[in-house]
Symmetry: D2
Subunit: 269 residues, 4 copies
């Protein structure tokens, strides 16, 4: 059942009140600051009282808190791909926080199952479009919140989502300045024990490499001409970017093997 | 006839020697500095003597020189879309030249007609891929040359090309910092008399809006939260990005109406 | 302006009453028998009085009548492709009229611009579907009417439409039994003077060969093992299957060059 | 490792000689008559001595023989979809054997991983093509053999393969004349205990409904106007049409649960 933004707060709240642990796939409990939520989503937040309880459900960053959480806010698809692309650099203080650009390319399922002219096959096929450019997309404050938390200080980013003629997948190309050249070891180390994140040092990832799986592939590259890093990350927005990550969180919350039900091999071709 | 890079220098040179005016669709005469060409294309330049004659065939920037040129270097597809996206800001000194990021999304025809596994339908469909990231793509020095010329000083950019599952079209998302907020008037003014460039102030362009035509649509947007501009441009890489632009140059060289043979309506859907 | 089926009868009727010549793109005047129309379209026919005036606007079969027509019923897309595939065999008495099977594959634009779940990109992409099988599609009586007229006696066909993940184009594969083996000369002769029909004797056509043009390509093949013919025809449903054919009819009605405004080169790729 | 047609005969033969049970995915042991094989595949058959041992690996028709087979010839993708569409009618004597038409639509993976111009994304996307029409395709004798076996007498069919711009899936539309009107019970009964065949009596199947799974969906429909049946079947050519069916055969040969390793949910969207 798809609810309007802001609707799950009340619903999830009732469950939490009744002592039931909740994983909310909506945005209502992702943003820690209710005023920020209300400004971006233009609805009142029905259960601000629960915000201190809510844990942001990105296991690679908040695994320990998720285990004991009563209320998990499952991340948005774009913020998942963006956070995993930049986390190793930002947490290690190796990213220029005044130079963060995130350019994401998503398949049409990211726009939901609702019919509209722009998701009509004849509009979408054979065409790439940008939308919500220049800080208009509601995932912007969510990914800024995560990166700010990693950086230890408020961070602003430029984020542009695009629609690409394919059904599934998000590829995010992240740009920053960095003082270190050899990025692979940093990323390999950061994601060493992660069951779903693969660092690709040789070939570059494509969204087709993770279709149907809960995997995220990340490829950091440094350009000595400019002193800048370009990091490419790919996920399947319907799995690691949504329901798969929810199952990953559920596994953590119930003490199950984190990969239970998620050993999905990517569909190829 | 597709020639290897570096091959058209000799061929075009013979024609120029014979007094024939040439429009070269290859890269050989695009870069003013033969050493830069040789470093990026890894072949020797056979006719460096002709480089001073060569005019870069982007009519919106070099129209007057093209009219009298004996040798026109038709621009690459990515540099066309990138230069038209940033030219108004850069020429007017309104772009932070230390913050130039160009993220381009191209259809498969940009990779040529040659068969290879990555252009196989089953590899390309349903997947987005980045390639030649972090300053590896040969169009990088070409677009830096144009932007440097516009800026009046050497400029470095970060450029990432991507392949998107569609046949034609390039969408470039350009990022910079800028002191001015109201970008549309600047762009409207810069492209006021251009027959093939449309500035879109309301809706955002998609590559499907220009398919099969020689048009370029440009949409500049400012984000007051970050003080940065995001500019989206779209072209059909096979028309404005290649053969159509060559005809536009030919029209200029022969004193014809610049739009002769090019009043192509975009194919929709 | 898209009108519901049955609505253009009244509208076109008013114009015809006023002495204005009309080309109707709707189905209202395609079927000669109002009862057949009403049975298949489930609406009342508002202007049965005009049916004797109406000429079926397939120039390759009814060119002379179209020239003087006051009211032209522009054919449906499937019936255009099917009639042109079988006309040479049927008119020459070379088709087994008890063995006529028409299997058509259409792009999504054939289903119109209206949004619905089945035309959502995520439903349509990567999937082929049959619909209205076993005599359910409303174009069935229309193509039976044309083939009956060509045969000189009532004819029944089996027709199956399919939706294919592409924007434009119809490929019809037509099957019949035939006593003659060498089909190309028959087809070459039948379409000798047609500006928009090409008979392909060597390579087989694909819809991509006619995209964006008013062309129809037809390839008849005989199988000596079975004594049956397979004829493949392709059109662009939005041009020869709709608006292009309307212009062709208009040219005929006004004594213009039949190809005026229609010398469109197929878009490739 | 992809071998040329005819190559697996020798290879598989060596294994069979050594007492190893073999499932051959190539065509070498599918046709019972070596002369038919040699005529259609234009290579000599290296191990005709093994043909009497070989069992055609379509479990829905030959389950008992597969269990004990030393050599299983895994069926072709088109013949799998065609045989399952027509088997209930043909085995029950309810199909007019002089009126069998099979029109198949396949994704590009059916043409293999080999690169060629026609599988280049820019050739294949946005276009439907017929190929090997009028009895040219090598799967013709294979599906005639199966239908002849079901019918109890030699049968000829007209078969046309088509390439559709999608990666996976085959939809076959089968046509015949039949004396019975109520086809669903016949099909429901025939496939009652089959784990991988679903008879669809209400909605029509699309290839997207079985993508990534070993399922076959079959929808028989009768047209009282013509006395003919149209049967639509869909499979994923890479699973039920190839490797999945091989695993199904392996499960049978080793006395495992027939669905072991094959409880794959279709990927949607």
């Amino acid at each position: 059942m798809a609810l309007p933004h802001g609707a799950s707060a009340a619903l999830a709240g009732e469950l939490v009140d009744a002592g039931i642990r909740v994983i909310d796939l909506g945005p209502d409990f992702r943003l820690k600051d209710a005023r920020v939520f209300e400004r971006w989503y233009e609805v009142e937040h029905a259960r601000q009282d629960l915000l201190p309880l809510a844990v942001y459900g990105l296991p690679e960053l908040y695994r320990d808190r998720i285990r004991d959480a009563r209320l998990v806010a499952n991340p948005g698809c774009y913020p998942t791909s963006a956070a995993l692309a930049l986390a190793p650099l930002v947490r290690n203080g190796m990213a220029d926080l005044d130079f963060l650009v995130l350019d994401s390319k998503s398949g049409l399922s990211g726009a939901g199952r609702k019919t509209s002219l722009f998701s009509h096959f004849c509009e979408a096929d054979g065409s790439v479009a940008a939308y919500a450019v220049a800080g208009q997309h509601r995932h912007t404050p969510e990914l800024e919140q995560t990166l700010s938390d990693l950086a230890g200080r408020p961070v602003r980013v430029t984020f542009t989502p695009h629609l690409v003629p394919m059904k599934r997948g998000i590829l995010t190309t992240a740009y920053t300045r960095t003082p270190i050249q050899d990025l692979s070891p940093l990323y390999q180390d950061f994601y060493r024990d992660e069951p779903f994140v693969q660092v690709r040092s040789e070939a570059l990832p494509a969204t087709g490499h993770v279709t149907g799986s809960n995997r995220c592939q990340v490829a950091p590259r440094f350009d000595p001409r400019t002193g800048r890093a370009t990091v490419v990350s790919v996920i399947d927005n319907l799995v690691k970017g949504a329901a798969g990550q929810a199952i990953q969180n559920l596994n953590l919350m119930f003490g199950l093997d984190e990969t239970a039900g998620l050993d999905l091999v990517p569909v190829c071709p």
